[in-house]
């Protein structure tokens, strides 16, 4: 029993925090988020060098070969710093290929994801925004062992910069996963303007795209189960960033409450301020416990992953919504000026709520998985 970071994880966390403080302070975050795709080449290369992009990719494919708890440790830091970069997206694409690809496919795709030359993302959702097999209408038409795909995927994270999309589609009664390159004929994608400018999201349009047989992921025995696992991994990754972001929002607000003098005393002296801050602390720590257990389940207890994920994303979603709002509110008027950082965390909370299932969706899963 050790519910704490290992020495290696602590080092990973420290290095990440130092890197982000130096290379991606909030001034840089603001510059990057205002760029067309909220993307910075140099930051991306530096992350590749640190091994972040291949963190969970096996070392034989150019990765670092660590697990999801380690990834969660890292994402907590990038969430804290609101780092605009397709790190979650590319990690999820790597996870999909690692879990469900053949050795050949891993060899072809993973090294370029690990070294940053390719940027991956999941394209799971369509019109209707339904999480699960029912949300997949895109149907492949067989052609020479492969498939022709025509249709759209919606709400694709980092759609504008991704070069490799994991695209579930229907083939008869089955769900298969195509690996679609942005360079392939008939593929177009673009990001759209979103509330949280550090997070881009958009559409992937497939116009009669030919998917070769060896670009269909070989592994999953049951596509619906594989899809469910990808949704869970995505929810875990998003939640990890949420924990970091909500903890930082709490810190910023706590510091403000200590510094801000009103009616002759720091406002943090009043229970009307200090109690919401204490509640934030309770919520962040509890979210963190739930999240780390879910991340641990990814590798160590896959049967427990759905319930652990549902609990973590549900609780954290509610918590972050409240922390985002209270954080701005406790700052008073200054909190919603563009100049102050706290409002960026509020916007992140708005982005994170629906991402891979909101609180209601996941609480309903907790009930169903609990057998009632």
């Amino acid at each position: 029993m050790n519910f704490g970071l290992t020495d290696e994880q602590q080092i990973l966390s420290n290095v990440a925090r130092r890197f982000l403080d130096e290379r991606a302070p909030m001034s840089t975050v603001r510059d990057v988020m205002e760029s067309p795709e909220a993307f910075d080449d140099k930051l991306w290369s530096a992350m590749a060098e640190l091994g972040w992009l291949g963190l969970i990719i096996d070392d034989e494919y150019g990765g670092v070969g660590l697990g999801w708890v380690d990834l969660a440790v890292l994402l907590e830091e990038t969430g804290r710093g609101l780092l605009p970069a397709p790190l979650i997206s590319t990690s999820l694409a790597a996870a999909a290929i690692s879990d469900f690809g053949s050795a050949d496919q891993k060899g072809r795709y993973l090294p370029s994801l690990a070294d940053g030359s390719a940027i991956g993302t999941l394209a799971l959702l369509e019109d209707g925004d339904v999480l699960g097999p029912d949300g997949i209408a895109l149907a492949g038409v067989k052609e020479g062992g492969g498939y022709r795909l025509s249709g759209s995927k919606r709400f694709v994270h980092d759609a504008g910069v991704a070069t490799l999309f994991i695209v579930p589609f229907r083939a008869g009664s089955e769900i298969l996963f195509a690996v679609v390159q942005s360079s392939a004929e008939g593929v177009s994608s673009q990001s759209r303007r979103t509330m949280d400018e550090t997070k881009r999201m958009g559409d992937l349009t497939l116009d009669n795209v030919l998917v070769a047989p060896d670009d269909v992921l070989a592994g999953p025995a049951d596509g619906a189960v594989a899809l469910a696992r990808l949704f869970d991994l995505a929810a875990v990754a998003v939640t990890a960033e949420m924990i970091g972001a909500m903890d930082r929002a709490r810190e910023i607000t706590t510091q403000y409450a200590k510094d801000r003098i009103q009616f002759g005393a720091p406002i943090g002296k009043y229970q009307g301020v200090k109690h919401p801050l204490a509640e934030m602390y309770v919520d962040v720590e509890t979210s963190r416990s739930l999240l780390y257990y879910a991340a641990w389940c990814v590798g160590e207890k896959p049967d427990g992953l759905p319930l652990a994920t549902a609990r973590a994303k549900a609780y954290a979603s509610e918590a972050f919504t409240r922390i985002g709002t209270d954080g701005v509110q406790l700052h008073g008027a200054i909190g919603f000026t563009a100049e102050y950082d706290i409002q960026l965390y509020l916007k992140r909370s708005k982005w994170a709520l629906p991402a891979f299932g909101d609180a209601e969706f996941h609480y309903e899963r907790v009930s169903s998985l609990g057998g009632y």
Partner: protein
């Protein structure tokens, strides 16, 4: 207890409705001179400055008719009755009560005629909720006051011609409410710098205003030197029920309900989902509660009783709703909510897309934060000791 209008009030309501129907028809709205025609028409009716004395160009209207006028206009989705909102709401009333005849003649007609904007220089950095601690300094120098200091959260400062400004002329008073002096300041005076504050929603309604040896003639003193605090509290019979504001909230809720009817969520119509239904029903109930609370405030005003801290009740409800209705819209839309400009593929009428979902702090913090409202209720109404 009787929630009905008197025949006279009903007649007035009908008059307002008929007027709105005629002047706010779809055709009228589309016509080129719509806004100026509107302003002229309501001015002729003496509905601008409805509660101002007739001697100063106002309508001399009573409390109940003010409510009827404002509520009906809100329901009809009418443009404002005049464009100089702050002038109509408190600058004009303050001038009527404390101003010299000169000031009255010079300023009141322009306010009624929407000639230009007034802004309000009250808040200062470091004293958001603690208004009376203001430090912006005015020193009498011959026939002028010389102002140095800073204001913040000044709305529409960039496009105002005049400011009503609270300064401190005496720093050695026992009570911080003493020693405050109210001046009327022309915004193009040398030494004034306006710096707009960009907010998280992308706009910049508020500004910082800096004063560097700004000189204001003593004629522009409003009320007595050192007694400026009183000027912030108008004695003019001003309806404070907030009922017209409630009509606006009800309209906003209707839009969220319509959104819920159109949007699907996890494959199912949002308006059919119990959690959404319950939140909509609760918002509806609070809005109705506010309307009825407003009628109680109104009754007290009609009876001539002083109205003060009770209005904090509805301010708390309004703060809750400002956040809740925005959050609810976002939750109904799911991922699509993040597309601020709307999402043409969502199947939702783009006009229903929630705008201003990031604007809630203006409402929630603007009129005093919810914690301030709770303190007001606890201390002034319930008599609990100060913190």
């Amino acid at each position: 207890m009787d929630f009905k209008l008197t025949p006279d009030e009903e007649a007035f309501r009908d008059e307002v409705r008929a007027f709105a129907k005629e002047n706010l028809s779809p055709e009228a709205r589309k016509s080129s001179g719509f806004l100026s025609n509107w302003l002229k028409a309501v001015r002729e009716k003496r509905w601008v400055g409805f509660n101002w004395p007739e001697a100063y160009g106002g309508g001399g209207g009573g409390i109940m008719k003010q409510v009827i006028l404002k509520e009906e206009m809100a329901k009809a989705g009418a443009p404002p009755l005049g464009l100089c909102l702050m002038g109509l709401q408190w600058v004009g009333p303050a001038i009527i009560e404390y101003g010299t005849e000169e000031q009255k003649k010079s300023f009141l007609p322009d306010i009624l005629d929407s000639k230009y904007q007034w802004c309000t220089g009250y808040s200062e950095p470091g004293y958001g909720s603690d208004l009376a601690s203001l430090q912006c300094k005015a020193v009498r120098d011959g026939d002028e006051y010389v102002i140095n200091g800073q204001k913040i959260w000044t709305s529409i400062a960039s496009w105002s011609k005049w400011m009503i400004l609270l300064t401190r002329t005496d720093f050695n008073t026992d009570d911080k409410h003493d020693g405050i002096t109210c001046l009327l300041v022309e915004m193009d005076s040398p030494g004034i710098e306006v710096r707009p504050i960009k907010n998280m929603a992308g706009g910049s309604l508020f500004s910082e205003v800096f004063f560097d040896n700004v000189r204001v003639p003593v004629e522009n003193l409003l009320g007595e030197e050192g007694k400026g605090w009183a000027v912030t509290v108008s004695a003019l019979a001003h309806e404070r029920s907030g009922i017209s504001e409630v009509a606006g909230l009800a309209k906003q809720l209707d839009e969220v309900i319509e959104l819920a009817k159109q949007a699907t969520r996890n494959g199912r119509r949002a308006s059919e989902q119990p959690s959404i239904r319950r939140r909509l029903a609760k918002a509806d109930t609070i809005i109705e509660g506010m309307r009825l609370n407003g009628q109680r405030f109104l009754t007290r005003q009609l009876k001539g009783e002083p109205l003060s801290s009770e209005t904090s009740i509805n301010k708390l409800h309004r703060a809750f709703l400002a956040i809740e209705l925005g959050d609810l819209s976002l939750e109904i839309l799911g991922n699509a909510s993040q597309y601020l400009g709307g999402d043409e593929t969502s199947g939702v009428d783009q006009n229903l897309w929630p705008n201003g979902v990031l604007d809630w702090p203006t409402v929630v913090i603007g009129g005093g934060t919810p914690n301030i409202q709770r303190n007001i209720i606890a201390e002034r109404i319930l008599g609990l000791p100060k913190d």
